[in-house]
Each structure stands twice: as C-alpha cells, then as structure tokens.
Amino acid sequence: MSNRAFAGAAVVALLLVTTACGSKQAPEAGGDSGRLVLGASLSLTGATAKEGILTREGYEVCTKVVNDKGGVAAGGTKYQLEIRFQDDTSKADVSAQLVDQYNDQGVKLILGPYGSGPTDAVAAVVERNGQVMADSAGADNKIFAKGYRRSFAVLSPATSYVASIVQAINDLATPKPKTFAFISADDGFSKTATQGGISKAKELGFEVIAEEYVPNQTTDVSSALTKIKPKNPDVILGSVHLSEGIAIVKQSKELGVRPTGGFGETVAPPIPDFVKTLAGSAEGVLGSTQWTPKTAGSERFFGSATDYAATFKTQFGGRDPVYHNAEATAACLALVLAVEKAGSTDPDKVRDALAALDTPSFFGPIKFTPEGMNVTKQMAVIQIQNGKAVPVWPADSAEAPLKWPATA
C-alpha cells in the first residue's frame, strides 16, 4: 500500500472519530397544537395488501367524518384528526419497528395493523413504550392472554368466527345436521378460531368427525378433502382465508365431495372476490363477518350501520363497504371517543378511558374485557344468496331466512 493511500486512510479514521464527538440537535417537538395524530402501520404491499388497503380506507372514512363534524373535543380544545400511514409490507416485525418509530415522533396513540400476527408484534411494543393501541383487525385470543393492558380490540375475538356459524346452524337449520368436518389453515388466528368452533359444536351436541389442517395461503386443499370424503360429513367448516376458502369449494366440486349441509367458511365469503371467482358454486355458502349494513346500534359520529354504508359509498365512488372497512373505522372511533371521554391526549388517561368505554355504535356494542377483547359484540353470519352476501343471523340483523339445505 502506498504512502498516499495510508495517509488517506489515517485522515478518514481521524475524521470519523472527530465527527462522532459532535453534539445532538434538539429532539423533535412532541405534540402538535390543534391536531390529534394517530399512527397506523398497515400492509399496503405484500401478502395482505388487499386487506391492508381496505383497513386504510376505513381509517380514512373516520378522519373525514370526524373532522367534518368539527373534530375531537377534549379538554376544552377541538383537535383535527390526522392519521399517519406507513407500509409494513405485510411483515410483523416491520410493523413493530414502525410503531417504535411513531413513538419517537411522539405519536402515542396507535391504530392497529391488519392481521393477528402484526397486531401481536405491535402489542408487545405498545406495552413497552407506554403507547395505546386500538386493534381493528387482530382477533386472535392469544394476543390478549399475554397480560397486555394497553391494547384494545374492537372486533370480536377469533374464537367466535367459527362458533358463530355453528350457533347459527343450530338456531336456524331444519333439519339439523349431525356431523361437522373442520378444515383449518395453520396460522395462529385460524387455529384459535377452529378450536372455538369445535368446542361450540361439541357444546351444542354436534359430532366432530374430522379436523384437518392445511398450509396457510395454499391453493390446494385436495389432501384434506380426500381424507374427509369417505367420512361423509353433513357440513364442512373452513377456518381459512380467501385462497384456501376458494380452493375448498372448487376442489370439493372436482373431487365429488358434497356435504348435504354445504359449506361454512369464516373470512372468505363476505369478500367480493369469493363470489366473483366461484360464480354459481358459491351459492349457499355460509360466512361469518364482523359487520353487515344491518348491524344494530348507532352513535353520534357515524349514525347507524346503514348511515355508515352510505357515507362510505359516497367517499369511495359508489363502492359498498366490507367488514374490514367497518372494523377499522370502529377502532378509530373508539380512540376518538376515549380521547373525548378522558378530556386529554395523554396516553395513560386515554388508556383508562378506553378500558372503561361502553357505547353502542354502527359496528355494534364497544366494550372491553379487562384483557382488552370485545366479547359483547356478536359476529354476524351471512349466506351467499343469488351472488350476494345476505345476513341471516342473529335475528335482529337478519335480512333473509337461511336457505337450508344449502346444496339443493
């Protein structure tokens, strides 16, 4: 190495050391006057991009409606609502990092990401940082079994996804089926939902003759169906997401699996893609949903479920809302109401106000257990009738009777 190069290296080393001994600039200013800033880290790209974008839309509706009604009134000031969005690329650890970043920027009130995985990761960070989270899309009960006190889920927990379909069949189906077969994706949320469904089925006196697991996000459930076929179940229940849900119905047709009572699936049927891809085969499939435009309850910002649907439709070019939109808006609403109730934006006061919240809304009743779950709100069960997702249960929000047996 030549003399020159060595000298150059020495200069660089010296430079590095001296730069390091500089001084830090003043820290970022904390609160903004007149604005209530909420932070949201969402999957705008990646595997759950679709649902992440739907969640963002729900948050955006909240911002518009709340600000149009004058903003959030707390402690004598009226705050304009502002939500900051960042993309977590559908990855749980990125979500957690982004929420940490929000903490640095002084944003202490957090709106949940999409999915139980990211919500779980964010909940741990929120707990550690002293932030507060309103969870819109993380339903897995396991998140709330960890002793977290600062995260509150407005949506019904995972255990009710399949259990509500079982209950609906029990209440409405004549003749009542006897045997159920369960197909579940192997992620935490789906498994919790399956266990909830199985216990509910046994509790109501049904026989569970099969419990098969398939890889998450798969498009091929043939091995599970082939194992189930000889057992001849009356109903096949799927605790799955969209791609597995479509595959179950499609491949059942291919393999000649025809349960007399048809299919029930959790998340897939309410999503428009389900009917679009399956066309006629989707008829009669039951689904569970966190919300329908017929859900009972109303409050002053959004009115009733029908009012919310109309507002959404106007804001998003004539498109009807799905439950992912509604649950997101509900989470934002919960935070807004908590801030108003607490009379301040201090995270601890907001946290206490959230824990004590008990209000009806377009999304159903919002009230939290000590662990942070909303068990007061029931899920609704829909059935695909004539290509549309029609609410059939519970009775006070049903639009049409259940068509039974589903596969004529």
């Binding site: 290296a9 080393a13 960042q86 940490d100 903490n103």
Partner: protein
C-alpha cells in the same frame, strides 16, 4: 492483463513470510485494516448519543446487515460457494435463543453463545453432503435446507409456537434477562459487526483465507497443492453459520416475538447476497459498503416511495448488477489502477 490473474475480489494484503524482510510498507498493509476497524468502532460509539431512537434502530439494523453480509462473504465471496440458505442459520440462532430463554429460562448471553455453537454444528453436519455440490446446485440445496427448516419449525407448534410465533419474555418475573433497550441493542449489534469484520480481516490475510480463495479459483488445483479443501470449506461454512446464528440470536431478542416465515425469510439471504455482490465480494470492505448503501437505500425508498418501493428496489438491483457486476470496491480498485472509469467497459466485459 498479467498472466497471474488474481480473479475478482483479491485483496493484496498478505502476511510477511519468513523469507521476506518486514518492511514498513508491509507493516502498514497489515495494520491498516485494524486501525480502520478501531476507528469505525469509536465512530459507532460516538455516534450513538447523537441519534434519535428511530435512527438508532435504523443504524442497528444496518450494523446487523454489515455483520450478516460479512459472514456470508466468508463462504460466498472468499470460497465462492454461494449459499442461498444462509438465513437458515439466522433463524436457527433466533429460534434456538427463543426456545432456550422460554423453555429453559436461560440468560440471553448464554443462549446467544449456545445458539452460535448449535448453528456451527448444524452447518458442519449439513455441509458434509452439500459442500460436495457446486454452483447452482449448492445454492439450491442450501435454499432447500433453509425452507425445510422453516417448515419444520412451523410444524412443531407445541415447542415453537408454530405459525403463531414465539415470544421471549422481556419484562416481568419470567424474563431471564431484561430487554437491552435501544441503546443496548445498538451497542450489541455494533460489537457483533466489529467482531465479524475482525474475523473477516483475520481470514483475509491468513493462510486459511488464501486456501479459500484458491478453492474459489480452481478447487482441483487447490487440492493438488495440498490444501485440505473439505476442511477449509466446512470451517468457512460452519464459521459463517456460527456468526450468522449469533446475529440471529441478537435480532430475536430485539424483536421479542419471532415468526418462522420472518426468521427464515429467503429475502434476508438475498439481501445479504446483494449487499456483498454490489459492495464487492471477496473483500473485507465490500460487504460493509454494500450493507450500508443497500440498507439505507431500501429504507429511504420505503419511507419516500411507500407504494412502489419494492418495484424501485428491484429496478435498482438490476441496474446495479448490470453496471457493477464485480462490485463497488473491486471496480474502484481496478479503475484506479488502470485509470479506466467507464462503467460501460464493465458491461462489455461480462456480456455475451
């Protein structure tokens, strides 16, 4: 071009052999990397109080990638065995630590050391059949191992929590070690990065490093020269695995909750490879430069072009790979030596 083609990525810093006199120049050559490393360490320590927590976390991640890229360089750059399953060791270190802390209530430091050992042994075991393969086959075999390991972890829910992830307790009575905090992790990753680079410097200028480079150039000739190629390859593979495992362990503790498809994400391996290749494989400085530039570029893109950042990242990779296939440090070194700076020359050299 001289007859003795030193191929790509050859650093000409060599040890003084007994027969050659110890000149001032060779002494400078030997100590320069250490001086720069020490300066880097001081810079890192000094920088810390100036950073906001978010920036601190970003720099921690960059340091993590510096460590990962440099570790990969040992097997991929020096020895030329492009391991595309390096993330297997990252995940193994992470899950090993998580399991030890959750089920055995071990302290983090003990768990990290143990995880590194586990990764070392696993790589040695797996390397026995796989290091006999060459080129793409080795890459795909290691990729298969990484993916297979991920599936295994996903399918042992009672032990690892399966797809739902596993959480390391970091506060409360269950926690064997308190969470280190942003500052703590920054320093941990800084020391890890420095340690890995130190290993790389030692390897680069030792007989072992020459053995690896010889294997890269022509394995049969190396064997004919008396180099125990199997030993050298296995040590390089297992060594880089142990270092990667230690980094994975630190990362798992930092994240608190880890999931199989994130701990074994093939994108992490690809990032490592991109960083090394763009920085200059087979050098010590290359992976460092590559890691820093790619990590910052990726973060900058994600913040400023949220909707299209992956698309842009892909485009950047394509352009960079076409214009600088030998990596930045090698390009600079060759360009300075030959006084030819044209990037298109580069393209002409490698194209069909």
């Amino acid at each position: 071009m001289s007859i003795v083609d030193v191929g790509q990525g050859q650093e000409v810093a060599g040890p003084a052999t007994p027969s050659a006199p110890v000149t001032a120049a060779s002494l400078r050559r030997r100590t320069t990397p250490w001086v720069l490393l020490a300066a880097g360490l001081l810079f890192g320590i000094g920088l810390q109080p100036q950073l906001y927590p978010a920036q601190e976390r970003l720099v921690s991640t960059v340091l993590m990638f510096v460590a990962l890229a440099t570790a990969w360089n040992l097997i991929g750059g020096f020895a030329g065995y492009a391991s595309f399953g390096q993330v297997a060791f990252f995940g193994l270190g992470g899950y090993g630590t998580a399991l030890m802390m959750v089920h055995l209530n071990m302290s983090f430091w003990l768990a990290m050391a143990a995880s590194a050992v586990v990764a070392f042994l696993f790589a040695a075991l797996v390397g026995a059949p796989l290091l006999r393969l060459k080129g793409h086959y080795f890459a795909i075999a290691t990729l298969g191992v990484a993916e297979g390991l991920r599936e295994v972890v996903t399918n042992l829910p009672k032990l690892t929590g399966g797809g739902g992830g596993i959480t390391i307790p970091t506060f409360g009575p269950n926690a064997p070690t308190r969470w280190l905090g942003n500052d703590g992790f920054y320093l941990l990753f800084l020391f890890l990065a420095v340690a890995v680079v130190a290993v790389a410097i030692v390897v680069a200028s030792s007989r072992g490093g020459y053995a690896l480079r010889a294997i890269h150039q022509d394995e049969d000739a190396a064997a004919a020269m008396g180099i125990n190629t199997t030993l050298a390859k296995t040590l390089a593979f297992a060594g880089s695995a142990a270092l990667t495992g230690a980094v994975g362990s630190a990362r798992a503790f930092q994240l608190q909750t880890i999931y199989p498809d994130r701990s074994f994400d093939v994108a992490i391996t690809v990032l490592m490879v991109v960083m090394v290749v763009l920085g200059g494989s087979g050098t010590v400085l290359g992976p460092i430069i590559g890691a820093i530039s790619v990590a910052f570029a990726s973060e900058w893109l994600r913040t400023n072009y949220t909707d299209v950042h992956i698309f842009l990242l892909g485009g950047m990779i394509i352009v960079a790979v076409v214009l600088l296939p030998q990596g930045f440090t090698n390009y600079v070194r060759d360009a300075v030596r030959a006084r030819r700076f044209s990037l298109l020359e580069n393209v002409r050299r490698y194209r069909l």
